[in-house]
Amino acid sequence: MKTAKELGLGLCPKCHKVNTMHTEPMQCVRCHGWFYQRNRNSLQYTLAWNIAALLAFIPANLYPIMIIYSLGIGDESTILSGIGQFIDQGLYPIAVIIFTASIIVPLIKIIGLFVLVYKVHTGVRLKPTKHSKIYYMLEFLGPWSMLDVFVVALLVAVVELGFVTSVAAGPAINYFTMTVIFTMIAANSFDPRLLWDKKLKQQNRHAESKGI
């Protein structure tokens, strides 16, 4: 099995047309978009966006995400304390959904991308089949962490009964959306084909050293 890179070909990421790479970047003959054979500086970009996401995730958990005013008295809650309230009320399914969407998914995405970057860079115990599946899953999970932001936005809009009750968004919501958007950009800039390239390089080196 040959890869397109070995044959001097490149796949256009937009229209999936196989082009012969004359220059880098190359203009696709079919959709006229510019592209590189591999995403340019893929690992650096992924790492940088990922660190930014991790940094934004800290204030997102420390500051209150939602403030509920009832009769003029404000009640602040962070992401975790909001989940705690659900558990107190016995609404376990919702607590699980919110916990998954706003704590587990962002963390899994950040850690997962760090691991993938590390694996591509060092090539330690690299299993491309498994790791490209992990990447595919991370990319799919991306937008679902926006759930908490949408919930707060809806509550602010719907529960607006003047002095009796109203809901306001806390500062954490901005940091949280930053986390989600940064992880999405990080996942987009990672190129899964680098996993296979690295594996192929290792195999070739292995074969050479055996041959000698």
Binding site: R30, S132, Y136, W196
Partner: protein
Amino acid sequence: MNQLSNNHDIVACHLCDAVFDKPQLKQGQSAKCHRCGSTLVERKVDSINRSFYWSIAGIVLLIPAILLPIMGVTLAKQYHNASLLDCILVLIDRGFFMIATLVFLFAIAVPIVRLFGAFYIAISFKYQRLSSSMLTFFRAYHHLGHWAMLNVFMLGIIVSMYKLIDDTELSVNLGLLSLILWLICTTMASITLDQDYIWETLEQEFTHEDS
């Protein structure tokens, strides 16, 4: 290599870069990559017509989905309801510009642009009115794919309903129904669009113009 000069008869996997001969597929079939198992090429059944009708349905539902109230709350004899548009206006009114922008972009603007995009592409293929600007247009259409989050917004509605149902008297309005239908229509309109077929037709159209 001369046999690769035009690259018409090969495809490459976009996840692992393996090269294959181009499979000849019938409608409804799809080819998977040997190495990593992702989908290489797919031929969708009756793609243009289906996408056309789904996007028409979506455009019809657009106005009620955005303007009709989604849900209302009654507490201490006060009633308040909100539609998708109200939601954004209230957020702007109270100074949460960032969430207002996000909700507007991900739950309204991107789905609308994608819906009209699918409609435009389907109608120009149905009536054979292809122009070279379609190339740029379709490329931009694909860029937006990641950022349509109407399905996440729908889960958000369900979660916030759960949250409200305990403390307040919650009423569900027609807006929710039309929003659900609209979500189905926008998703189906973009799912049924067969991108391999569209790119190949555009390519043929374009190379004819050149020669």
